[in-house]
């Protein structure tokens, strides 16, 4: 799908020749795992799945996090704990899952996986309670009714055991397995950016939106936010308006785009919460409508604390910089998700719906 080595060469060229001084470039894998301390694992079932984003400080502890929750049909866990006025300051993992409210069970499997490795909030006696905030959504693309499978404890355990740094699979995997975006197949997408001052920001989205990500001609709203030639497969669709599939009919608990944004900067919970609010604009720019009554839309932020914020300048300016980069990374990850998604027996992909837009794909 994306040969990483070629990508590195291309990016090096981009940075060294084409890029103006101080240009923003994607990280090595153009993935959330470009943020040090972040690893990702997918569990992919028959028509649903689970994705876990693990976060570790340099000492293996959890990291500060924040959340914004703007969709009207949220299915979440441990989001109260993430509020800045509450005590626990560290998050160990974020779980995104299909399976509607049932999929929340995957978080318990991730907790088991982390506890086994001694990772979690220390509660004395060497015991830990892993902090695993979670957001799930209803898989709209299931070709079976009722669905043939749903995420459970084991799905979370497997996703956690599969977690690694490096390239992240996109499209119909993990929490994006059964996802739909408007009238085309949704899925997992990821993107990253390295800022000139050394800040790295990455995003991972599970795109399952009620709204569409393309305009009346089939062109993606967020394509203009792509960095350089990061997605050579994508060109203009330019199709006639009557070929555009409509958004699926909505309804409570039917859809939702859940997201994790990560950065290598050390954040407080309040700063992470502010960054979450800004990064959420990345959904707004890429999907229309966003945050509907039926959408779960929940966005988490993690700061892995490799860079002290004081060393980067005014803290509020840095928060704004990360929030801006985060929003763009979210929009880009949504584009990546759509281009990576493959058609299923009941849900065509973006590229199969608008082949002209993807005519450069390998």
């Amino acid at each position: 799908m994306r040969p990483p080595r070629l990508r590195i060469v291309a990016l090096s060229l981009l940075a060294g020749i084409a890029g103006p001084a101080g240009a923003q470039v994607p990280g090595q894998n153009n993935a959330i795992t470009d943020v040090p301390g972040i690893s990702v694992g997918h569990y992919t079932g028959a028509d649903t799945g689970t994705t876990v984003v693990l976060a570790a400080s340099t000492t293996g502890q959890g990291v500060a996090g924040g959340v914004t929750q703007r969709g009207g049909s949220p299915l979440t866990r441990e989001t109260d704990l993430m509020r800045p006025d509450n005590m626990v300051e560290i998050m160990n993992a974020i779980v995104l899952s299909g399976g509607s409210a049932y999929g929340i069970a995957a978080a318990s499997g991730v907790m088991r996986c982390l506890e086994t490795n001694g990772v979690g909030f220390p509660v004395g006696g060497g015991n830990v309670v892993p902090i695993v905030p979670t957001a799930t959504t209803f898989d709209r693309a299931t070709c079976n009714a009722p669905p043939a499978s749903r995420p459970d404890f084991t799905s979370g355990l497997q996703a956690c055991l599969a977690a690694s740094g490096g390239p992240v699979a996109e499209g119909s995997v993990g929490a994006g397995t059964g996802a739909v975006s408007g009238g085309v197949k949704g899925g997992i997408g990821t993107a990253s950016v390295v800022l000139p001052n050394g800040i790295v920001v990455g995003a991972l989205v599970s795109l399952n939106s009620e709204g569409t990500a393309y305009d009346g001609k089939g062109d993606l709203y967020a394509a203009s936010l792509l960095l350089g030639n990061e997605l050579p497969a994508l060109t203009k669709a330019g199709g006639p308006a009557n070929r555009v599939p409509p958004s699926l009919p909505g309804g409570a608990l039917r859809s939702g785009t859940n997201v994790v944004v990560a950065t290598n900067v050390q954040l407080t919970k309040s700063q992470a919460t502010k960054i979450a609010e800004m990064a959420d604009d990345g959904i707004s720019r890429a999907v229309n409508p966003a945050h509907t009554a039926g959408d779960s839309d929940t966005l988490f932020v993690l700061g892995t604390a490799r860079l002290a914020i004081d060393t980067l300048g005014d803290a509020n300016a840095v928060v704004t910089q990360i929030g801006t980069a985060g929003a763009n990374a979210v929009s880009r990850a949504i584009v990546h998700a759509l281009v990576a998604a493959k058609s299923t027996s009941c849900q065509p992909s973006y590229c199969d719906t608008f082949p002209a837009a993807c005519r450069n794909r390998p």
Partner: protein, 357 residues
């Protein structure tokens, strides 16, 4: 004539106001003095005991027909799920159960068992593709490692068993369900429940798992801070001074979690308001309450069989008092544990004169 009518109306209002006030202190309990006095509410406990004094468990409060739900979350160390959905502006306002559980965040797994149990019973919100989704918010308390290995904790099967045990009869209190492993200010905590019948036929009930860092009573007299709210059936008797030499539990490992229910018909925004008011009952009964290590969370379930414009202040005030009473009843019902090296006193062991048979 017109003056008479106006005077009559004024007198009626005064009488109603007096009735409302006299209703508040003390309350008239329902026949079970339990949250199950609220039509449509069932309770099921599942309790585990390791034989060495270690206990934990799960309590499921089930509204099989669905109930309008709200929540307030004021403790500083919460472990919760599906609370975002209960915000007033979100699309879904109906919950089918609330799960209270021990086990810290691990215990959230019990709600998964309640969810699948309700699904198998045909209870839930229809979504699409034939999927029925029971909406099961949950909050947990910290009890792991008390007279038991740290991994002695509720899992999904606890929720399944609590769900299968649910009924609308009398509700066991003390060392059961989510209160099995609970402590309160250094003594044994537990499950308590209470109800109140309001003059207009509205029923309000509360159930609570008291696992507080703060205490519920004056350590030298045994007098409950919220004793003035208790009604005769709550069986408060003469106070007998007695020394209380109990060690305070770690302030970072606590949590009091509760559900208040009513048969009034509420909107979700109203259910959230009732939860906020009911939380005052927790504040009156516990000193301290809502600390940094407390996960204090209060849910509302409104089954809505009594239609008409609800008197929110009356219901919220009654819910607060019912919650205070439920906390006292939890502490009085709790039994001390004395198994080998596992020793925790109960309130009634410390103040036997306050606990007539």
């Amino acid at each position: 004539m017109r003056l008479h009518t106006a005077l009559g109306a004024l007198l009626t209002q005064l009488a109603l106001a007096t009735a409302a006030f006299s209703q508040a202190l003390p309350q008239t309990p329902g026949p079970k003095n339990a949250i199950t006095d609220v039509p449509g509410i069932e309770v099921g406990h599942y309790t585990a005991n390791n034989g060495a004094g270690g206990m934990t468990g799960t309590t499921a409060i089930i509204a099989r027909g669905g109930a309008t739900a709200g929540v307030t979350q004021r403790g500083g160390a919460p472990g919760t799920r599906i609370t975002d959905l209960l915000k007033s502006e979100k699309a879904v306002g109906t919950a089918h159960a609330v799960v209270l559980s021990g086990g810290s965040a691990y215990g959230l797994a019990a709600a998964d068992g309640v969810t699948t149990c309700l699904e198998s019973q045909g209870v839930g919100t229809p979504v699409a593709n034939g999927v029925l989704v029971p909406i099961v918010p949950s909050a947990i308390l910290f009890d792991p490692g008390r007279c038991a290995p740290f991994n002695f904790r509720p899992d999904a099967s606890f929720g399944t068993n609590a769900c299968l045990a649910a009924n609308n009869g009398p509700v066991a209190m003390g060392n059961v369900g989510a209160g099995a492993g609970a402590r309160s200010g250094g003594i044994k905590g537990g499950i308590g429940t209470a109800s109140a019948i309001l003059p207009n036929g509205v029923v309000v009930g509360a159930i609570v798992a008291v696992n507080s860092s703060g205490s519920t009573f004056n350590a030298s007299t045994g007098q409950f801070f919220a004793g003035y709210i208790a009604s005769t059936p709550d069986a408060i008797v003469a106070l007998a001074p007695s020394p209380a030499e109990a060690e305070r539990d770690d302030l970072l490992r606590a949590t009091t979690i509760a559900v208040v229910a009513t048969n009034a018909r509420l909107t979700k925004a109203q259910a959230n308001k009732i939860a906020q008011m009911a939380d005052d009952g927790l504040a009156r009964a516990l000193r301290i309450a809502h600390g940094t290590g407390d996960g204090d969370t209060v849910f509302t379930l409104a089954t809505g069989t009594v239609t008409g414009n609800p008197n929110l202040n009356q219901i919220g005030g009654a819910a607060a008092d019912a919650l205070s009473r439920a906390i006292i009843r939890a502490i009085r019902a709790a039994k001390g544990i004395h198994v080998g090296t596992c020793n925790v006193n109960s309130y009634c062991e410390l103040f036997p004169g306050n606990c007539p048979p």
